[in-house]
């Protein structure tokens, strides 16, 4: 897993939703749209990083436990 993102999962998720809504609403210049889309991609990646990390930690905990029980 890469380093921990500097913003929290909830921050990233909420901003991502807002970004997509702005994209869908339209009314932005092409350059703005592209910037919004790039931001959206980056936010989605951050969210995924958080979720992957959470799942990994869960898996690690389960494995550590089954390992100690053996």
């Amino acid at each position: 897993m890469s380093e921990t993102p500097e913003i929290s999962y909830e921050q990233a998720r909420d901003e991502l939703i807002a970004t997509v809504q702005r994209l869908e609403t339209g009314g932005t210049t092409l350059e703005e749209s592209l910037a919004l889309w790039e931001r959206g991609e980056a936010l989605a990646k951050i969210c995924q990083t958080w979720l992957d990390g959470a799942r990994q930690r869960l898996d690690a905990a389960v494995q550590a436990e089954t390992g100690s029980e053996d």
Binding site: V20, L23, L30, G40, A44, C47, L51, A54, L58, E65
Partner: protein, 409 residues
């Protein structure tokens, strides 16, 4: 006693002795409350001196040792007893004694009343109030145990505690758990354990017994010592119905030593199971949370704005292409209209040109400088003749003016 005697006719001593003996013999057995003043145990028989509880009155008594041993409480000098005895007169030395058939620990009623008074006094001081009760540690780091050496109570506490929590750390202090010295010994043990930093709960355990046996555990000094303890104290004295004052001042009252064992240590197996179940539940909850968020994220990412960012450009591209096509079409139309105009003008130009006339056989005569000749009089030597498909250069050899139509000429 209608013995008719006078100075002249005395009765012999044996008669008197016999009469007294008969009289006393008719008294029958009575219940007597007294204190043991002396006790002299011989093989088979025991000789006692009973003393009244208040008056300075004593009387000898005797009984078979089995009667002594059958008593629920130990019969010792100073003990209060209730005896079932028959007064008997011993002729050979004229002594009166009580033939004891049964001994009971005495003054249970009085003892209980005394305990009740002490209880009320201590309660009035607030020693038993719930607000002083200290909570027991969930998992004790050190369990102080005050009990009799090799007693059943000790075994009950140790075995039952270790059944539940095999690593239960005990600090055992043996003390005399019965008799007048008992309270002081228990106080010393409790205080020593209270001072021990490793001990975070103290159990005072003793098996069942008579009210008198349990008297040390209602001792005021012991009650105050336990009250002063900073370590929580569990009392486990006797059986369920026994309630010495220690039970009231203790932070927890266990009904029996076995019950104390259950109260001071958690059941390891049950605790582990509970922990495993809680861990399982938290893990599931977390997993569900992650899954829910993942679904949300997937949903957002699958929306066209993110999933197919090309649409952003596509929309703009379409606008651009449409505009380009429109501009091309517009230019196209403009060009073809211009073309048509040009053709039209050409036709007009062609219509106006003399070429068609030339093709019909006419010719245009011109001077070398291009001046069109309209009169034979103006004709130079060299004449250019334009025909439909080119021009000739000719030389003037003759001039024939037309005859004058005008008679003036």
């Amino acid at each position: 006693m209608a013995l008719d005697t006078s100075a002249d006719s005395p009765a012999p001593l044996r008669t008197i002795s016999q009469a007294v003996g008969e009289y006393i013999g008719r008294l029958g057995a009575v219940w007597v409350e007294a204190e043991i003043a002396q006790l002299n145990r011989r093989p088979g028989m025991c000789f006692l001196t009973l003393r009244d509880l208040e008056a300075k009155i004593s009387m000898g008594a005797k009984c078979h040792v089995s009667v002594l041993d059958a008593c629920a409480a130990p019969v010792t000098p100073g003990a209060r007893v209730v005896v079932h005895a028959k007064p008997t007169f011993y002729g050979p030395n004229g002594s009166l004694s009580l033939d004891v058939r049964e001994i009971r620990p005495a003054g249970e009623g009085e003892l209980l009343a005394q305990l009740e008074r002490r209880k009320q006094l201590l309660a009035a001081e607030g020693l038993f109030e719930p607000r002083w009760k200290k909570p027991l540690p969930v998992l004790p780091q050190g369990i102080g145990l005050v009990t009799g050496r090799e007693s059943a109570a000790e075994r009950d506490v140790l075995e039952n505690a270790r059944l539940r929590w095999p690593a239960a750390p005990f600090h055992v202090r043996h003390a005399l758990m019965q008799g007048s010295e008992s309270a002081r010994a228990v106080i010393a043990a409790v205080q020593a354990l209270d001072a021990e930093p490793a001990v975070d709960v103290i159990v005072v355990a003793r098996g069942g017994g008579s009210v008198e046996d349990l008297l040390p555990f209602s001792d005021e000094a012991l009650v105050r010592a336990v009250f002063a303890c900073t370590t929580p104290v569990v009392s486990a004295i006797g059986h369920e119905p026994d309630t010495p004052l220690l039970d009231l001042v203790a932070d927890l009252r266990a009904s029996t030593p076995t019950d104390a064992a259950k109260r001071i240590v958690p059941d390891a197996a049950a605790e582990l199971e509970a922990i495993a179940s809680v861990r399982q539940r938290t893990r599931h909850a977390l997993l569900r949370l992650v899954e829910r968020e993942q679904h949300g994220l997937d949903a957002i990412r699958s929306r066209p704005a993110l999933a197919r960012p090309a649409t952003l450009v596509d929309a703009q591209l379409e606008l651009v292409l449409t505009a380009r096509d429109r501009s091309r079409r517009a230019l196209d139309q403009r060009l073809s209209r211009a073309h048509d105009e040009v053709g039209h003008h050409l036709a007009r130009v062609r219509g106006l040109s003399p070429l068609a006339t030339l093709q019909r056989g006419y010719a245009v005569a011109q001077a070398a400088d291009g001046t069109v000749l309209t009169s034979v009089h103006d004709a130079p030597d060299e004449i250019h003749v334009r025909l439909a498909d080119g021009h000739l250069v000719t030389r003037r050899t003759a001039v024939h003016p037309d005859p004058q139509e005008n008679p003036d000429e």
